[in-house]
Amino acid sequence: MRKLALNDEILLKIEKPARYIGNEVNSVMKDPSKVDIRFAMCFPDVYEIGMSHLGIQILYDMFNRREDVWCERVYSPWFDLDQEMRKENIPLFALESQDPIKEFDFLGITIQYEMCYTNILQILDLSEIPLYSRDRDDSVPIVIGGGPCVTNPEPLADFFDLFYIGEGETVYGELFDAYKENQRNGGSRREFLEKAAEIEGIYVPAFYDVTYKEDGTIASFAPMNPHAKARIQKQVVRELTDTCYPQAPVVPFIKVTQDRVVLEIQRGCIRGCRFCQAGMLYRPTRERDVEILKQYAYRMLRSTGHEEISLSSLSSSDYSQLKELVTFLIHEFKEEGINICLPSLRIDAFSLEVMGKVQDVRKSSLTFAPEAGSQRMRDVINKGLTEEMILSGAGQAFEGGWNKVKLYFMLGLPTETEEDMKEIPRLADKIARRYYEIPKDKRNGKCQITTSTSFFIPKPFTPFQWAKMYTNDEYIARAAIVKHEFSEQLNRKSLKYHWHDAEVTVLEGVFARGDRKLSDVILEAYRLGCLFDSWTESFDNEKWMKAFENTGIDIGFYNLRERDVHEIFPWDFIDIGVTKDFLYQEWQKALQGETTPNCRMSCSGCGASRYKGGVCIESKN
């Protein structure tokens, strides 16, 4: 019978023991004596969040297809269990085997957002793995980082043995083979890391030397080990359809955030919004074959028993086979009580028709993400959405019976003026006016326009990577301007406004474009008790501010200066395909309010065509 790492007394005391017992449908069990590599795959947040992540499911499936590898899962123990584990000296364990992580060959951590950095330290700490990579010996697992945040891995450089830069489907096989060979030859940890450093896309931070100028910016960044490359090439899957996709993903017992079958229909985005990191990172845009997706839908619904299916991608309306796929899903599965969960689509006749089929029009809402209120600002960010498009889309939807709209905007974008901010409530009001143009007897009561703003954070590898951010007080002042303007609108009773927290924004900004010096702050914050910082209930800004104070690190250096053309960024050693020259050119165009066409309209020569895939070669075939 299945044995557990935690005893009954603990399991009956903590919240949701199902987070820690494994045993889920489709989880993979193997005989540890028959595999060469034991890999612990970690999402450093609570089970319900981690289990909802598609990337981990893809890698879990891919690794376990290899007979010589057993990949298991591990998530962050919630506060209640964290406390018990420390009290009873229970080492962190993997869900499948319930064996301690410290006995594994690899601990792979996916890093999806900045506010999980203290959770990474918790994982290492509870696993009894030394926090600093330099303190680790041959007896502990190799700690690998991957995911979108590792496009600037520098704030975490001291805690990881290596980073995998780019899409996971490409070089893990090579990495495992190198590991096995090193084991066979009785090689040391360092010898393995040297071999790994020679693999494309693998970055071993300990093999690089960084020097700084007096002003704190980087003077030089160079490899100091002959095995390490000067530039790390981001890994990209050329043909998405040919890569493996989990046909039988793990089905959790408890309700998780993404409790459904997820079909990734495409990777990347053709649009080129200047604030969007994913839009640059996943270039070129690549589609998955629609016939294959149909097969996946059948198999995955059958193997999981999920009652819902959703599509995943950036800008789903750009998927060329969308109509075909959605029509198929509705036709095949609606009758069987399967809920089709549509991604947010551009509003047109087709999307309104399918939305009307799969959701209750009176209860559901339309979503628009104009991101900026004024046309000038939307040109700066290269968001190809005009007021006319929004109003006509909303108008069509209102006539079709909808009366709820959600709007998403950003505040604090480069060059933003008070006028730009005030355009946000005005646009919301125009949408409401459009609604009330419909004769009273034909509309469905009042409309409800809900506007949310978040504060813009410049990310590495975007045209805005040179931009400055603002202070907490400045952000709050900007939100107050918007709030006041809302109260001036004609239809203010139909308008609602929410804004996101500014304290977290400031921290995310620091870590997004941070350097190696920041590892001290992360460790200090963890020591002061910061954990689950992405959860509003546990985020403690005071402790974070104390951590900055104790380590003498200045937030202003990271957030409050516009960066110079010549500045060497901590992430410059990574080559994502899109060139720094292209990004800089886009930055200059942004400042002039000039737009750039999307990849399907015309190629702007961003550099990603080097990967010879997807949209870059579409028209050239």
């Binding site: 019978m1 299945r2 557990l4 005893n7 009954d8 007394e9 399991l11 009956l12 023991p17 199902a18 017992i21 494994g22 045993n23 889920e24 449908v25 089905v251 017992f253 408890i254 309700k255 619904l301 059958r302 193997s303 999981t304 028993g305 999920h306 009652e307 009580g337 809920n339 959701q359 209750d360």
Partner: protein, 255 residues
Amino acid sequence: MKARIKFRKYGVMRFIGHLDVMRFFQKAMRRAGIPIAFTGGYSPHMIMSFAQPLGVGITSDGEYLDIELREAIDSEEAIRRLNEVMVEGIDVVDFCRIPDDKKSSGMTIVAAAEYRAVLLESAKSADITKPFPDSWQMKLEEFMKRENIVVLKSTKRSEKEVDIKPMIYQMCLKKDGICLFLAAGSEQNLKPDLVIGAFLKFINEEPNGVPFHYHRVDVYARQPEGTEHVCQSSKNIILEGKQHTFIPLSELKII
């Protein structure tokens, strides 16, 4: 067309709560391809009802859910298909047709449940049991001889004193544990730990200091009036001088 499914819950699955077991079975129906019926509307739901929630930590040999079928399916076939998609800790042991009328369905007919309570070496493990002290036999008899057994029953909202004596249909010490036959269902429902807690208090033991594991043996309905259904596993209980017959839910089927 209605069917009743009987299953066992054991091992690590005892840590999965009632609502999650329901979710588990909804998905299992789809994986097994059981032709279950749905309600209408925008978000159709499977027509499925569970007989009696089981507390987290408790194992069971007699859990039930009733489902409505779109079309007939052979019982053996249904059991086989369901067991192919189960996990360690849940086994389907029976699948049978039941009458279509409302009053035969799971929730409403539950009248009693049988439990076994075993004494543990430590709260850390439900696997290591220990024998009862010799003195308990007599003490238990004394406990059951009392006119009333008043305990503090706490719900989410309030606490109130109730006499649980009328809801204890049977309580006796056997070799493999304390056997409890208790009122269950929507009208009155008694949980086994409340009874054991009252007993421990009666013998001056601190309830939290004496760890127990609970196992549900089966769930029962009253023998329908006017039927002569006799089965091996039925229970005859004398309550206030009158004989009552209870039969396991799995025996109320169309044969």
